[in-house]
């Protein structure tokens, strides 16, 4: 089929919702830079529209192609993770960035996509009878745990946990027996218990700052000017927004620099402060609609690869915004996870747009077959 005609079959509501979310983002970036296109709004718009076109290009490419390259994507992703471990730029005590000259990439972000692709490929190829076989459960587990450990060693606990969560989620969707998850859940909590027991001992399993972050998460008011400052200020911004907000570019918390990372991870607080409850709930509804359209799309596809791919990538998107929002409200500890399509940042923007490219490709080809 003519690739240009394929565009007609694209999931248009999803595409429009993505655009709407990005517009929200431009609006907020313009506001936090004090009413200026520089330094954040303009690059963000450029990046978005380049990757927005990329979605159309990717959706025109057959899903079978993406399926075929899935294992290689995984290997490439893993290679980049190892590369960043040895050659990455160090920033804020962690090696997370890989300078590829054209773009500064955060391989741990990109890896999420390639892992979802690989797992979908794996279960697509695996006969139904072997799905719950212990050996065939171990293989995807290793595919998840090994890269997660590398990311954890960067060290980036938050992303490592998200990788594990998404991986397990794909396995769950793929139909692995429920007992494994029950067992896994129990052992997870046991591990958590042991982790907390290790604090202060010579075999301490987490770095001190991890524990401190957990402490502030549990009681931000204990240290309002230290580590708890971010969460306290962020909650003040959220709460002071009220029902209708303080007005566009009128948020005192963000305009007067009380908010940390106001253009990246904490941009939701600016939105909440300036547009109030209607703004935050509006964005939450748009996000939910994106997720809903993805789920409908996943249910409508006929092959397992597409189904798992869409569900897994949709889950990636979901973890982004739900963790971010929970974090700024003080429901979760502060981990470096951006608000998808709204936060300023090239790496996460490209990763999210790539995943939508794949979702659209699966959507376009759901009735066409291979």
């Amino acid at each position: 089929m003519n690739p240009f005609i394929k565009i007609i079959y694209i999931n248009w509501p999803l595409q429009i919702l993505i655009l709407a979310t990005a517009l929200f983002g431009f609006l907020m970036l313009y506001s936090v830079s004090g009413g200026s296109w520089e330094p954040w709004t303009k690059p963000q718009i450029n990046r978005f529209f380049v990757s927005f076109i990329l979605i159309f290009v990717m959706s025109a490419i057959s899903i079978s192609f993406w399926q075929k390259i899935s294992p290689f994507c995984y290997l490439l992703g893993l290679a980049l993770l190892i590369a960043v471990y040895f050659y990455g730029d160090t920033g804020m005590g962690a090696k997370r960035w890989l300078d590829l000259r054209i773009i500064k990439l955060q391989p741990s972000e990109a890896f999420k996509i390639s892992m979802v692709m690989a797992l979908a490929y794996y279960y697509h190829k695996l006969p139904a009878s072997k799905v719950s076989h212990p050996f065939y459960v171990l293989i995807p587990l290793l595919l998840i745990i090994i890269p997660a450990l590398i990311v954890f060693r960067q060290p980036d606990l938050g992303t490592a946990l998200v990788i594990i969560m998404i991986g397990i989620f794909v396995m769950f969707i793929a139909g692995v027996h429920f007992g494994y998850f029950l067992f896994g859940g129990l052992s997870f909590f046991t591990l958590l218990f042991i982790l907390f027991q290790s604090r202060g001992k010579d075999w301490q399993l987490l770095k001190d700052y991890h524990f401190r972050r957990i402490d502030t998460f549990l009681d931000p008011s204990a240290d309002p000017l230290g580590a708890g400052y971010h969460i306290t200020q962020s909650k003040i911004a959220l709460g002071s927004g009220g029902l209708f907000g303080r007005g566009y570019m009128q948020g005192s918390q963000s305009q007067l620099n009380f908010l940390p990372e106001k253009h990246t991870d904490f941009i939701f607080t600016t939105l909440a402060e300036e547009f109030g409850f209607f703004g935050t709930i509006g964005l939450l509804i748009i996000y939910s609609l994106i997720v809903a359209f993805c789920i409908f799309s996943a249910l409508a596809t006929t092959d397992k690869y597409s189904r798992l791919l869409i569900t897994g990538l949709c889950m990636t998107f979901f973890t982004y915004f739900s963790i971010n929002i929970a974090m700024v409200m003080g429901l979760l500890p502060v981990v470096g996870i951006p608000l998808p399509l709204v936060s300023y940042g090239g790496s996460s923007m490209i990763v999210i747009m790539l995943s939508f490219g794949l979702i659209q490709s699966a959507h376009v080809h759901k009735n066409i077959g291979f």
Partner: protein, 645 residues
């Protein structure tokens, strides 16, 4: 079969995948609902609390200090002013290299290395946009120099603030007092705390009218609400509440008289009070030596403070209201008034003075060896006979003497806005019993009769007593113009006019009859005749041996041991207007030392300026001319002194 089984397994798995996708979708939906619920709690339920917190974050209150009320004399001449204080501040972020800028500034104004280091240190402690005071109280010349050179002094900003300045350096120091930078101790005692006091180095009244009328003078601070960002930088002013300047205060003091009296008392440890006998307005209240209150405004140095504190003439003390002295013979009017009122003596009754009064085995001496002979009351006042008043005091008794003393204004503090007001003292039998555990003796009464012993009075009280005797009214002193509307018509004393006339006549004779104790210091202008009373209060006891060997002359004693010289008077005799008291500490005898001073001051007031020499007896005119010219010259030259001492 196997293929069929595989197909059913596969379709079973497909259904399971479907189920799980839907299940996951529901989980996601509930997560979103949870997030939404939390947002609702933050943004709707608790919103008001967070709005307050946000405002607390962003809004800072900046106080605008009110300008302090001015203090004027009775004619509207300013005494305490707010002067422009030229200063320069440095803002680090605009300075580039602050060290270099300070060095350059040091070539324009005096700024030693130590001060430069201190400024640089202060700067490090504060945010880069906070202005740091580099130099204060600059002369206009220095200030102009800096302003011209501003282009080469980045970050330096010339500013003009307000600071207190006392126009009449020393003559008003004891009345007006001074302001000084607020101390931690002041903050502790101020309840409730006025927010304006939080301004560092805010000037508040420390002494005198400045302290007592602080509430009127201070005014109310304006508030500028400013928005600040997270690092404290002011972004914009949200609104401004104008403060209220302090009220201006008009004193009853006449500056020309005050300056004349100050100059006349210069060099002595003395005080004088001149009041209007009807209104009670204090026209002049002087205590010497004095001090320059301007030295206190920006904080006095420790060495200057110690010098003032250790001076045996006590420059910081307001002797006119805080100094309490045995009233000496000036107290004799009180005894006379009490006796006349009680009818214990007639105007023509005479008492014999042999030079001493015998009480049992003790002898109470008259100041005149050999005695005055037979005296009427009028003559006894004129000659200040001690024996006469021993006799009279004994007749009246200490209680009734005390009653009369209080009626004439002694032994009480007046409601004046001055610090350290002394009540003086009128002794009673009960007091002596409690204080010393011994009974009141007749000898004590005799001593009280001539103003020695336990009784004490301040120069202000003596002036009030004289004013009451001269007017027959219950005059109360006041130092703030229009402060008391009743003062124009005070109620009459409970003393018969005939009594007052007799005492006034006695006081007239003191100066105007040949044997009067202050006859030398009479005036010759018939319109401005003065009536008064001398007094000498002993500082030490004269022993019997000394009396027999011959009393040592005052001039031969060390300063601290000499007698206090007192004089109190009113004038003009025919139509009394003013009462005046003069006390010279350790000055010697009242007739020789205090009376001539009182005459000069009183004449100055009566003539409204330097009196003509014709007002003095012929023999004294040359001396008077020299003295008055000298004072006039000093007053005129002082007003031209550069205020920056």
């Amino acid at each position: 079969m196997s293929k069929f089984k595989d197909t059913t397994l596969k379709s079973k798995l497909v259904r399971r995948v479907h189920r799980r996708i839907v299940l996951a979708g529901l989980l996601k939906a509930s997560t979103v609902a949870l997030l939404g619920w939390n947002i609702r709690k933050l943004q709707i339920e608790d919103s008001e609390d967070y709005k307050l917190l946000a405002d607390a974050n962003r809004v800072n209150l900046r106080l605008i200090p009110p300008s302090r009320g001015l203090i004027f004399d009775r004619l509207g001449t300013p005494i305490a002013l707010n002067e422009q204080n030229y200063k320069v501040v440095l803002i680090r972020e605009q300075a580039g290299d602050p060290r270099k800028v300070l060095k350059r500034l040091a070539s324009i104004i005096e700024l030693d290395q130590k001060r430069q280091e201190k400024i640089l240190q202060d700067m490090k402690k504060r945010s880069s946009f906070i202005p740091i005071t580099v130099a204060e109280n600059l002369t206009w010349k220095d200030f102009a120099h800096i302003s011209v050179n501003l282009p080469s002094l980045p970050g330096i900003i010339p500013e003009v603030g307000l600071t207190r300045h006392y126009q009449e350096y020393e003559s008003y120091a004891h009345i007006v007092g001074y302001v000084g930078p607020i101390s931690d101790k002041d903050l502790d005692t101020e309840k409730p705390v006025d927010p304006v006091l939080q301004i560092p180095k805010f000037q508040i009244g420390k002494v005198g009218v400045e302290k007592k009328l602080e509430a009127h003078l201070r005014g109310r601070a304006g508030v500028s609400k400013v928005e600040v960002n997270a690092s404290g930088r002011v972004m914009r002013e949200l609104n401004r509440t104008q403060g209220k300047s302090g009220e201006n205060i008009h004193l009853t003091i006449a500056t020309n008289l005050q300056k004349f009296a100050s100059e006349r008392l210069k060099g002595m440890s003395a005080s004088s009070v001149l009041i209007d006998i009807i209104s009670g307005d204090i026209l002049s209240l002087v205590s010497t030596p004095s001090y320059n209150p301007n030295n206190f405004v920006l904080g006095i140095s420790q060495s200057d403070w110690n010098a003032l504190l250790n001076d045996e003439r006590k420059p910081l003390l307001n002797k006119a209201t805080s100094g309490a002295y045995p009233p000496g013979s000036t107290f004799k009017m009180v005894v006379a008034a009490a006796a006349l009122e009680l009818g214990l003596i007639g105007l023509n009754d005479k008492i014999f003075c042999a030079g001493f009064y015998e009480l049992g085995s003790r002898k109470f001496h008259c100041w005149l060896k050999g005695g005055h002979g037979k005296l009427t009351l009028q003559e006894a006042i004129q000659k200040s006979c001690d024996v006469y008043f021993y006799e009279l005091a004994r007749k009246v008794g200490v209680k009734r003497i005390g009653d009369m003393a209080r009626q004439l204004g002694l032994g009480q503090a007046y409601n004046l806005p001055l610090t350290g007001l002394s009540r003086g003292f009128v002794p009673t039998k009960k007091w002596k019993k409690e204080r010393f555990g011994t009974s009141w003796l007749v000898g004590d009464t005799l001593n009280v009769g001539i103003g020695q012993g336990f009784s004490l009075a301040t120069p202000l009280q003596l002036a009030v007593m004289t004013a009451r005797l001269a007017s027959g009214k219950e005059v109360t002193p006041n130092i703030i113009k229009n402060s008391n509307k009743n003062t124009d018509n005070p109620k009459a004393l409970l003393i018969k006019e005939s009594t007052l006339v007799a005492i006034r006549k006695g006081m007239f004779d003191v100066l105007n009859e040949k044997d009067g104790t202050a006859f030398n210091f009479r005036t010759t202008d018939q319109n401005f005749l003065i009536a008064g009373k001398t007094g000498t209060s002993q500082v030490r006891r004269i022993t019997r041996e000394e009396r027999e060997e011959g009393v040592i002359k005052n001039e031969d004693l060390p300063w601290k041991m000499r007698d206090h010289a007192l004089f109190t008077c009113f004038a003009p005799f025919k139509n009394p207007k003013y009462a005046l008291s003069v006390v010279v500490e350790h000055g010697g005898s009242g007739s020789k030392v205090a009376a001539p001073i009182a005459r000069d001051i009183m004449l100055f007031q009566l003539y409204g300026g330097i009196p003509p020499v014709t007002a003095y007896p012929e023999k004294q005119q040359l001396e008077a001319r020299n003295r008055l010219m000298d004072i006039e010259k000093k007053i005129n030259s002082r007003s031209n002194i550069n205020p920056n001492i």
